[in-house]
């Protein structure tokens, strides 16, 4: 009864075109944001933060980034892990090279650096399409990981080849390093997620988003109606890499604290983020969140059940996790190829007609 357009009159164009035209949706969104900003910080503890919430927030940014490229612009990329590594190493170099630079700028600048690298690796997309492009982006993945491993300048000639984040604070609260409080790092990441998601939502429904979708649906036709494929594809690569770079910087600086490139940003990361957007739903910001939540929560849940409840050895549980994750992905693709976002859309459609479906 609550969820419907009836009686919800719009008196101006801007109201008619707002992101959440239905009042119920709008209030739901405001409540979620208020809950995330005002209530969660008081309830959070270290276990929840490190096991679930931080990875969820950070991967949500990466998933939005990849979704812009793959879901909206139709360019499949398997280089996500490599681009996250660029963000992380850029953040590390900036933090150690300019100790006085505010951490917020460090992270935004790392996103900018990643965007530039992304544009370089996006150049071949003008000639190469489809699967050939997907495989070509693997070149970025392997080359970048090799580069950060082999050139000591990137890890400041440290003996272990690892990078570790020095302590930086904002308004007197430490956000990186060992002395962070759970609610501080939570709020820090949440602010990034909120702003970036808001930007992505508005980018994708504006002129640029429509151009991306035109390229995705049929690039030659899009070219004929006046969309410049060079600019559009490279813009998608730049913005997507910007998001992924920020996710990489946050993952390294706030979540991991110390990272080794092959382990933290390997090819499995690329696949993980790709899984998120496929399960969440291609071409949907909500889907990026849903997919990230699913892929972060499920392994935690499985591990709790198998190791905690059944008392199986951890290696056995790890094998089972592979089987279940793989099986679920196949199952998902069979039952709902458009992901969690599509399920949400169907639920909303049903809600509109409830309780009198006709």
């Amino acid at each position: 009864m609550l969820y419907r357009e009836a009686g919800d009159f719009k008196t101006s164009y801007s109201k008619d075109q707002q992101t959440f035209p239905i009042a119920f949706d709008r209030w739901g969104y405001f409540l979620t944001v208020a809950f995330a900003f005002l209530i969660v910080p008081f309830m959070i503890n270290d276990y929840w933060l490190n096991a679930v919430i931080l990875p969820f927030l950070i991967y949500a940014i990466a998933a939005i980034g990849l979704n812009i490229l793959t879901g909206y612009c139709g360019q499949v990329s398997l280089g996500t892990g490599g681009f996250m590594a660029v963000g992380a190493y850029a953040a590390y170099k900036l933090m150690t090279g300019f100790p006085d630079l505010n951490i917020v700028f460090v992270i935004i600048l790392s996103g900018g650096v990643t965007a530039m690298v992304g544009v370089i690796f996006g150049l071949p997309s003008l000639r190469i399409k489809g699967f050939y492009l997907a495989v070509a982006t693997l070149a970025a993945q392997f080359f970048l990981v090799w580069l950060f491993n082999k050139v000591p300048w990137f890890y400041n000639y440290s003996a272990s080849g690892q990078i570790s984040a020095p302590e930086r604070s904002i308004f007197g609260f430490a956000v990186t390093g060992a002395n962070t409080l759970p609610h501080v790092s939570y709020l820090f990441c949440l602010c990034f997620v909120f702003v970036l998601a808001w930007m992505a939502r508005n980018l994708t429904r504006g002129a640029n988003g429509r151009k991306w979708m035109a390229i995705r649906d049929m690039d030659i036709a899009a070219e004929i109606i006046g969309v410049n494929p060079l600019k559009t594809k490279l813009l998608a690569f730049a913005i997507s890499s910007f998001y992924i770079g920020i996710a990489g910087a946050l993952l390294f600086a706030v979540y991991l604290g110390a990272a080794e490139v092959g382990e933290a940003f390997g090819i499995t990361k690329s696949f993980l983020v790709l899984f998120m957007i496929i399960i969440g739903g291609l071409g949907s910001i909500f889907g990026s969140f849903a997919g990230a939540a699913f892929m972060v929560l499920m392994p935690v849940l499985l591990k709790n059940i198998m190791v905690g409840q059944l008392g199986w050895p951890t290696d056995l549980a790890a094998h089972f996790e592979f089987v279940i994750v793989g099986g679920l992905i196949v199952l998902f693709l069979i039952l709902e190829p458009h992901g969690l976002a599509q399920i949400w859309r169907i639920v909303k459609e049903k809600l509109r007609l409830w309780p009198f479906p006709h």
Binding site: I128, V135, A139, W146, L274, H319, F322, V323, I329
Partner: protein, 332 residues
């Protein structure tokens, strides 16, 4: 001639051999892509799974022993017999055919008419599933695979060529296993070509590869064809698994050879069997020579991880469909 020159030739020859190994994996990709338009990421894991099954049957392991032990608290691990290699290979092949059936029945059938990216993702899911399943079934420790193929360096070649170079040159070193792999790959490709050219099923396969709907309309059963193709790909995976497994042991990293085969595919074109072979040879020689001439002396080594991709990437910029791929025709 200087010894360095001969070392170069040796690296070249070894590159050719490595290329054959890549081609073996790439071949499986091409077969499935041609017949069903599916980019099968699981090919590498299929090779791993086939090799695991082979070792398991050969040494008489009890499947799921680890799991059974964990649930029932038993201590079982082996049946206590040794199967002859040939019988074990046949059993492993049967497993791969069974796998093809299951994939067709429970996965592909439900995904007809989906977009290629969805099918690709499904095969990644499949790869994860098989990886976990293989480990559950046979355990995740590194296993030694020995089906009686000769190992070690080829002494005959080494002695014959030792006189070519100067004092510090001891002849070309070639692994016997690599030579066998080359011979087997040649036989495999020849028989595949003969099969697809001169048998009824082969004709049906080519028809499906050309046009799904036209093939359906003349009465070719797509589902049967898919089972056949996946079985053949399983067989190719088994051969690749035996070769790679004998070389470096049967372990998780075996499934990563799929990643090595991808640039081969890009170079050769996704739809061409000769392309897979030629691409494999180019990549094999290219990365070994690059490592020998530039990578190791100037760049700090381990360039093999990415060189193949970069080569394929540069190549694609000039020829987007690969060496032998079908010309991409785009219409609005």
């Amino acid at each position: 001639m200087s010894a360095n020159f001969y070392y170069g030739i040796e690296v070249f020859l070894n590159g050719l051999m490595a290329g054959v190994m890549y081609s073996l994996v790439a071949l499986g990709f091409v077969l499935i892509f041609k017949a069903s338009g599916i980019f099968n990421y699981a090919q590498g894991v299929m090779a791993l799974f086939a090799a695991l099954c082979l070792v398991g049957f050969q040494t008489g392991q009890i499947p799921f022993a680890h799991l059974i032990n964990a649930i029932f608290g038993t201590q079982i691990h082996h049946f206590g017999w040794q199967m002859p290699a040939l019988l074990a290979i046949i059993c492993a092949l049967l497993m791969m055919i069974l796998f093809a059936f299951i994939v067709e029945r429970y996965v592909l059938k439900h995904l007809v008419n989906q977009e290629p990216i969805i099918l690709f993702m499904a095969t990644i899911g499949l790869a994860y599933f098989m990886e976990g399943f293989g480990d559950l079934m046979w355990g995740s420790d590194i296993k030694k695979l020995d089906v009686g193929l000769p190992q070690g360096g080829n002494v005959w070649l080494e002695e014959k060529t030792a006189s070519l170079g100067g004092e510090d040159f001891y002849g070309f070193y070639l692994d016997n296993l690599d030579i066998w792999a080359t011979i087997l790959a040649a036989i495999l490709v020849t028989s595949l070509v003969l099969f697809s050219q001169y048998t009824k099923t082969g004709r049906a396969l080519r028809a499906v590869a050309d046009d799904h709907q036209a093939a359906l309309s003349v009465g070719i059963s797509l589902r049967t064809i898919w089972v056949i193709v996946w079985s053949i790909a399983g067989f190719v995976a088994l051969v690749a698994g035996i070769m790679w497994g004998s070389k470096s042991g049967v372990q998780f990293s075996l499934s990563l050879i799929a990643l090595k085969a991808l640039p081969v595919l890009m170079l050769g074109g996704f739809t061409s069997i000769p392309g897979a072979i030629v691409g494999g040879l180019i990549i094999g020689v290219g990365e070994k020579m690059f490592e020998f001439l530039i990578g190791a002396p100037f760049l700090g080594g381990a360039t093999e991880n990415w060189f193949a991709y970069m080569l394929a990437l540069l190549f694609l910029v000039f020829r987007p469909q690969g060496l032998f791929g079908e010309k991409i025709i785009e219409r609005v």
